[in-house]
């Protein structure tokens, strides 16, 4: 198999999820084919090649065009279609993000190619590609396959740890002739309001304490802040809480926010919607406190506490402070 990875980058950094996919691609292609990576942007992509090569790409396709400067999906569908066809790829892997999901679905329609999404694992069996998907709030493990000649897989971000491979001569670099369809360049970004980046604190934190709508109001985020302080952690928030204006967007954990992988994740008044879960499922230990005994968050918690955060958290903070002093 020849496996292509859609390598998404932000500034001078390739998304860690994509680097992890390169390692998985190398496993799938081992001894039978090559691993390619596509980088698309307005320019300056050459600088990212060593990083992509170090994680398993044999060949790196660079697509540079002004229309690829903005993070819009449709021009990238044109690029991927061209690379798949000319490069002889039969499998394309995507690490889930707002951009990658739209690109993968567009490519599926363009190439009439099967797309399996929300995958947590991929492997070969009897010469066929098989995917594992957790469905219905992670209550069922679904084994999925493909019928199409080109197989597309959208993998949950962070499913595979990035691993550096022993260096060779570096990957082969190929420039992609960029030809864009009229409908692919109809949409234009006229303004960007980037989320102020307050450093990688949340993504790199060893302890994250997140608050959701169950806190009951913005003033109760102090509960999350107090607990984060005694645990030496950082505060996160659900999308609903961010949309309600209770906490800044930079603290949002989930599909349209940040992906975290701390040793400890404490969820306070968080229901556990799928879009939140994809941002925190790599946490090693999850503790959840929620008044609703049927909250989905409990299905992926190590310690599930049915109770009111307003009662439990102050007691816990006091207890931990006493412990610390003694």
């Amino acid at each position: 198999v020849n496996v292509l990875v859609f390598a998404e980058h932000r500034g001078d950094r390739v998304a860690p999820g994509c680097l992890g996919l390169l390692g998985k691609a190398a496993h799938l292609a081992a001894g039978t084919g090559t691993v390619g990576a596509v980088l698309a942007g307005a320019g300056g992509l050459e600088a990212l090649v060593p990083e992509v090569g170090a994680h398993g790409a044999d060949r790196v396709h660079l697509a540079e065009d002004d229309a690829l400067g903005a993070p819009l999906p449709q021009p990238r569908v044109d690029v991927l279609e061209a690379v798949v066809e000319t490069g002889g790829y039969d499998t394309v892997l995507f690490s889930n993000s707002v951009l990658a999901a739209d690109v993968a679905a567009g490519l599926a329609a363009r190439m009439e190619a099967g797309l399996n999404w929300d995958l947590v694992d991929l492997f070969g069996r009897d010469g066929r590609l098989v995917g594992h998907r957790l469905a219905l709030g992670d209550s069922v493990l679904v084994e999925v396959g493909w019928r199409s000649a080109v197989q597309l897989a959208l993998v949950r971000a962070g499913s595979f740890e990035p691993v550096r491979v022993a260096g060779g001569d570096g990957p082969e670099v190929a420039a992609v002739p960029v030809r864009l369809s009229p409908h692919s360049v109809a949409a234009r970004v006229i303004e960007q309001r980037p989320t102020p980046d307050e450093g990688p604190a949340l993504e790199d934190a060893d302890v994250v304490v997140s608050g959701g709508m169950g806190l009951g109001g913005p003033e109760h985020f102090s509960l999350a802040e107090d607990l984060a302080r005694v645990l030496g952690g950082v505060v996160g928030a659900t999308r609903a809480a961010v949309y309600a204006g209770w906490y800044p967007h930079s603290a949002q954990v989930g599909q349209t926010g940040k992906t975290v992988a701390p040793s400890l994740y404490v969820a306070l008044g968080v229901s556990g919607a799928v879009q939140h879960k994809v941002g925190m499922q790599r946490a090693k230990v999850v503790v959840a406190v929620n008044t609703d005994p049927n909250a989905p968050i409990f299905e992926f918690s190590d310690l599930a506490v049915v109770g009111d955060v307003h009662t439990v958290v102050p007691q816990l903070v006091a207890l931990l402070e006493r412990k610390r002093r003694s």
Binding site: A70, L72, P73, V77, V98, L99, A101, V103, A104, A105, G106, A108, A109, E112, A113, L115, N116, W117, D118, V130, L134, A135, V140, V142, E143, V144, G145, S148, S181, H183, A186, A187, R188, V189, Q192, R193, P194, T195, V207, L231, T256, V274, V285, V286, V287, P293, E299, D302, L303, V305, V306, G307, D308, T311, V312, Q315, L316, A318, L320, K323
Partner: protein, 256 residues
């Protein structure tokens, strides 16, 4: 301004997969997918007082007509349902082909989608439909304004907000931050009974499903199993002891 809204009929309550067919069990009662209410609300807002039209479009089992009636009760003018046993088990490629065929017939200025479905949760369909139509697509919309054949969309991504502009016709997928959906009124429900609801088969749209199983799907379900999960989960129901249990648990795991 003619607006088409793509909606889905999703099973009520706890969704299950049928172990026999390995498909989602759609035999029980269902409802209009909650996220689609935001798309419908936005369509009604866009149409406003103009002499435009809002068409609700769906593909699903015959019972999906109930959800389309709900859309009509909320204010949609017409509804189109593609229901065909041949399409059961349809994947992204097949579903997007079918919806695109309906939209080709309808020729709307704007196509709206909700953020994701409560059951499949793929959040992918709009991009595939737009590609079939060869129209621009913008997802994760938290605001939408239309002006003289141009749509201006605020799009939320991991990077922050982007304002994206495109010519119409276009496909836009909205989030639940875009508006506050209305509730159906009794008058709306009465009126819905008299509004047109067209039912189509795949053949009516000129779509040949005979090529393969699951309506020509390019993906397949091989097996169902139990998730790996977190097997040693501990549950605490006594709130008065909760703080102590958490503190002990954290100490035990070396997390303090």
């Amino acid at each position: 301004m003619k607006v088409a809204v793509c909606v889905k009929h999703v099973p009520d309550g706890r969704v299950r997969l049928d172990p026999g067919s390995t498909r989602l069990d759609r035999s029980g009662s269902g409802d209009l997918n909650a996220m689609d209410l935001y798309a419908l609300e936005e369509a009604l807002r866009v149409k406003g007082d103009t002499d435009g039209e809002v068409v609700a479009v769906s593909m699903g089992p015959p019972a999906a007509a109930e959800s389309l009636r709900s859309a009509l009760a909320l204010g949609a003018d017409r509804a189109v349902l593609v229901s065909d046993p041949q399409l059961a088990g349809a994947d992204l490629v097949t579903t997007s082909t079918v919806l695109a065929a309906v939209l080709e017939r309808e020729q709307p200025d704007l196509v709206l989608f909700g953020q994701q479905s409560a059951d499949g949760a793929g959040a992918l369909l709009w991009a595939a439909v737009a590609e079939h139509l060869r129209r621009p697509a913008i997802s994760q919309a938290t605001a939408l304004t239309l002006d003289d054949g141009t749509a201006r969309v605020t799009r939320q991504s991991e990077l922050g907000d982007e304002v994206v502009e495109t010519s119409l016709p276009a496909v836009v997928a909205v989030t639940d931050a875009i508006n506050e959906p209305r509730y159906a009124s009794l008058r709306g429900m009465m009126a819905a009974k008299r509004k047109p609801l067209e039912q189509l088969s795949a053949a009516d749209l000129g779509i040949d499903t005979g090529a393969g199983p699951d309506g020509g799907s390019q993906t397949e379900v091989l097996a169902l199993g139990a998730p790996p999960g977190r097997p040693d989960a501990i549950r605490v129901d006594d709130e008065t002891k909760a703080a102590q249990v958490i503190a002990d648990f954290l100490a035990e795991r070396g997390l303090l």
